[in-house]
């Protein structure tokens, strides 16, 4: 089937489309993240300040989404760069497996960090 006259946005490629969607969401989130974490020197460096801020469930929700979308967008981008190079099917699958494993591992680590933070003493 040809998509020649449909435009890339209608070709039905979910990965392509979702990379745009996550990109736009991340653009807004990154601005918010910079403001939240670097508004003052303490905001991003002082342990009690950070722990107090992240005890807010809305803040945790923001960062769970940020971690998930950021990792997806980054690793999907990495995977689409790698797919541009010719390689054997076995090597493709191996690299894909490594990318997914790293993504799941770091994603779970980020979720655990955000959901099991200690409280301020």
């Amino acid at each position: 089937m040809s998509f020649k006259f449909e435009g890339a946005s209608k070709s039905g490629s979910f990965g392509w489309y979702f990379q745009r969607v996550t990109g736009v969401v991340l653009f807004i989130q990154v601005l918010a993240h910079f403001y939240i974490a670097h508004r003052t020197w303490d905001a991003g460096h002082d342990w009690p300040t950070i722990i107090a801020r992240l005890s807010n469930p809305y803040m945790q929700m923001f960062y769970l989404v940020f971690v998930a979308l950021g990792l997806y967008h980054g690793l999907n981008g990495l995977w689409s760069i790698i797919r541009d190079y010719h390689m054997s099917e076995g090597r493709r699958q191996f690299i894909f497996g490594v990318i997914v494993t790293v993504g799941v591992f770091i994603g779970v680590l980020g979720f655990i960090t955000m959901l099991t933070l200690p409280s301020v003493q």
Binding site: S9, W47, I81, T116, P118
Partner: protein, 111 residues
């Protein structure tokens, strides 16, 4: 195989390189932030990040985020808002804005 490098190709190359750098950074960043679990670990990490060389790297990181974000918007405009007609002007705008913000952040951080 070699492609002819038009003006827009450099935007594409920079987008890929900055994307790779940011993907590496987000993995390291999430790993290091998990140090929040243990205050001494966190304080030690923050001590390390006060090093001037790492602050310069942070400055570069900011500019990489800025370029990738602005060029990402340019790609969005090319895909959805007929931006292909003026993609060269858009790339110039992205580069000029990136340099201005890079210089501005340098002034905020180091002056």
């Amino acid at each position: 195989m070699r492609y002819v490098k038009h003006y827009g190709t450099w935007g594409y190359i920079l987008h890929r390189l900055s994307g790779l750098a940011l993907t590496g950074y987000i993995l390291i960043h999430i790993y290091l932030v998990s140090g929040l679990h243990n205050r001494p670990v966190w304080d030690q990490e923050m001590q390390i990040f006060r090093h001037p060389a790492l602050m310069v790297l942070e400055w570069f990181l900011f500019s990489v985020v800025v370029y990738h974000s602005l060029n990402g918007l340019r790609i969005f405009m090319i895909d959805y808002f007929n931006g292909a007609r003026y993609q060269k002007q858009l790339l110039t705008g992205v580069l000029v804005l990136s340099v201005i913000l890079f210089a501005g952040m340098g002034a905020i951080m180091f002056l």
